[in-house]
């Protein structure tokens, strides 16, 4: 069977820069270039406005007393997990296998893709339905399976929208945050080849109708995992739409993909972690569905998958425990740090990070996983205002980590900027040098603007997209201060 949800996809034209594309491999480009393009895009202002509004609404009641207590407990549970990550993973594996599931450990994204590809080939899979999973983005699973003859349909409403638009998700839990209702209306009308009302309810109903046959007829369901309980072997997804329930119950094969830090010690920890995740992610008391899977269907059961496979991806994460960045693995992927981050909002969401995970969590995680050179400069995409820490439901010290990662970057990259800072440090180390620099600054202010952007030197990749601020008033405060010193206020 072929997908009915994707029928008409050939009528759609992608309208996004290459760095936001899902179908093209991630090729990292200099951050100043990408962010400048991102800020200039017409969609960015509207995305920023939506995120700013949400951030303002949420700031009024960030951690009410009962939630503040859950936050402490959640933070403790996640750190307890990290103290014996491998032990909990061993117990999880035993329990899942006891219940008839198969567990596959994948060291690299390539291993993970290949394992899923083999499961699809052995199971003669033609159509796979997916619920939301950031790990599947990390291993670029969709494009891989498509290349191997498996049609893959994203079933989360936001993921379905970005799949049709051939884009990566713009936010961890709100993948189509950068799309206006008009964009989505236009996309759905062209896909369906029919006129549609533009109310959000009607647009959602269109997606529901389109996806229903695929839920019923798909061979394989691919889901993420929000929490994997080590004591019972239960895999939990937290959703509002119900698509993860479909994906995990209707097809004959279920593949769940998780990264190794998703394990939690006890099933009963869900009583703390689910309300905490729901509050941080969407300000719900609890999300609508917590779908819990413990092995495949059992004898006599009318539905549920015949095969359950759990893929546990490492991709460099096992390097992190024991380092100063250990707590980044406490993350429960709520996306609250993204909403709280002024830089994330200003660049119009996650695409501008040119990485799978955007925002503060992405700026910390990306340089630590996979090929560590990739995204090593992302920690600079932050104002270090600290809002991400205030928003974090498990109290990850993201601002401290951003500073430490910048220091790591500087140690590894002894580039022109480092020479420049060393020279500056020596100059301002003496009163004479400092005064000379102020005079130099005032003289530089007489030069025409835009000069830095036109430098043709080895610093060019850094200097594009930047300029020197007006310098004519350099030293003005100190002159004013000197002239007023000693006078009564």
């Amino acid at each position: 069977m072929s997908s009915s949800a994707l029928r008409g996809r050939e009528r759609l034209r992608p309208e996004r820069p290459a760095w936001a594309a899902a179908s093209e491999p991630l090729v990292r480009r200099p951050l100043p270039l990408v962010t400048r393009e991102a800020v200039a895009r017409p969609v960015t202002g509207a995305t920023n406005a939506r995120l700013v509004q949400r951030n303002m609404n949420w700031n009024a009641d960030k951690w009410p007393p009962a939630m503040a207590e859950l936050r402490e407990r959640g933070a403790a549970i996640r750190r307890e997990t990290l103290r014996d990550l491998e032990g909990y993973l061993r117990r999880l594996t035993e329990r899942v296998e006891e219940h008839g599931g198969r567990v596959h450990r994948a060291t690299t994204p390539d291993d993970a893709r290949r394992i899923v590809g083999e499961i699809a080939r052995d199971g003669d899979v033609r159509l796979a339905i997916k619920s939301k999973s950031m790990v599947s983005e990390e291993i670029e699973l969709g494009p891989y399976l498509e290349e191997h003859g498996v049609e893959v349909v994203e079933t989360d409403l936001g993921e379905y929208i970005v799949q049709l638009a051939d884009e990566r998700p713009g936010h961890i839990i709100a993948p189509a945050i950068h799309k206006s209702r008009a964009d989505i209306h236009d996309l759905f009308e062209r896909l369906g080849g029919e006129r549609l009302p533009d109310a959000p309810e009607q647009l959602a109903a269109f997606a529901r109708r389109r996806l229903r046959d695929d839920f019923h007829g798909a061979d394989m369901g691919i889901s993420g995992v929000n929490f994997a309980c080590a004591d019972t072997g239960t895999l939990v997804t937290v959703t509002n739409e119900g698509n993860a329930r479909m994906v995990t119950s209707q097809p004959r094969i279920h593949v769940a993909v998780m990264t190794l830090e998703k394990v939690i010690p006890r099933f009963t920890d869900l009583g703390v972690l689910v309300p905490l995740l729901s509050h941080a992610a969407t300000r719900q008391r609890v999300s609508v569905y917590q779908t819990m899977v413990t092995g495949p269907r059992r004898p006599g059961e009318a539905d549920g998958p015949e095969e359950l496979h759990l893929i546990i991806l490492d991709n460099g994460r096992s390097r992190i425990p024991g380092t100063q960045y250990e707590e980044v693995l406490a993350c429960i992927r709520c996306g609250a740090c993204q909403v709280a981050c002024p830089v994330f909002r200003t660049v119009g969401g996650g695409h501008a990070y040119n990485a799978v995970y955007g925002g503060p969590i992405g700026a910390v995680l990306t340089p630590l996983i996979g090929d560590q050179e990739e995204g090593a400069d992302l920690p600079f995409l932050s104002s270090l205002c600290g809002a991400c820490y205030d928003a974090c439901p498990v109290k990850i010290p993201l601002p401290d980590m951003l500073v430490d990662l910048r220091a790591d970057y500087e140690r590894r990259h002894r580039g022109p900027a480092r020479v420049g800072w060393a020279a500056w440090s020596r100059l301002w180390g003496s009163p004479l040098g400092y005064r000379a620099s102020l005079l130099g600054g005032r003289l530089a202010g007489l030069l025409p603007g835009g000069l830095v952007g036109r430098t043709a030197s080895l610093a060019r990749s850094w200097s594009r997209g930047r300029d020197v601020p007006p310098l004519r008033a350099a030293g003005a405060f100190r002159r004013w201060f000197r002239s007023h010193r000693g006078e009564p206020g």
């Binding site: 079933t155 698509n243 009583g271 609508v288 819990m292 539905d303």
Partner: protein, 174 residues
């Protein structure tokens, strides 16, 4: 007699709290004084529409007189019981097995649950505990709080995306 039985129970469990919490997230619930009245209410909610009903002792006799079908994909209403119901959040705790398929509460656009008030627990964490106590661990379980929803279009909440757009919980005093 009836009042005598209801009063001490009301101190332990509070159906009004449950009803308010579920209504807040877009579901509907009622509390009725007897099982007979509750079963009548379930039948009223189903009407003549095609329904799937779990074959479980909790639902004995409910299917009588309803237009019962085998295939959930051809049903317009799914009728289930529940392991527990959390007053604080309006959550239903569901466990699935040979008698209680995953699809009943998922595939039809309307979900109706018949739940004795003795299954009410105060908090969401208590509902999690109720599922945690089941042995052997069921192959599938779900915690359901309200109708299916999404905020993926301009962060506006819409209902009825992939799961049921309507959820009705009928509570009764035993």
């Amino acid at each position: 007699m009836t009042t005598k039985r209801v009063t001490p129970r009301a101190t332990r469990s509070d159906p009004r709290r449950y009803i308010a919490a579920l209504e807040q997230v877009g579901g509907r619930a009622v509390a009725l004084p007897s099982r007979a009245e509750a079963v009548e209410e379930v039948r009223r909610l189903c009407g003549t529409r095609p329904v799937v009903v779990d074959k479980h002792p909790d639902l004995d006799g409910v299917a009588d007189g309803l237009h019962v079908v085998e295939d959930p994909w051809g049903a317009e209403v799914g009728v289930t019981g529940a392991v527990a119901a959390a007053e604080e959040t309006g959550t239903l705790a569901l466990a699935f097995d040979a008698d209680r398929p995953r699809s009943t509460s998922l595939v039809p656009p309307v979900h109706v649950a018949l739940v004795p008030q003795a299954r009410l627990v105060p908090t969401y964490a208590d509902a999690v505990e109720a599922l945690a106590a089941l042995r052997p661990v069921p192959s599938a379980m779900n915690l359901v709080t309200g109708p299916s929803s999404s905020g993926d279009i301009e962060l506006t909440t819409v209902r009825a995306v992939h799961g049921p757009g309507e959820i009705h919980v009928v509570l009764y005093d035993e």
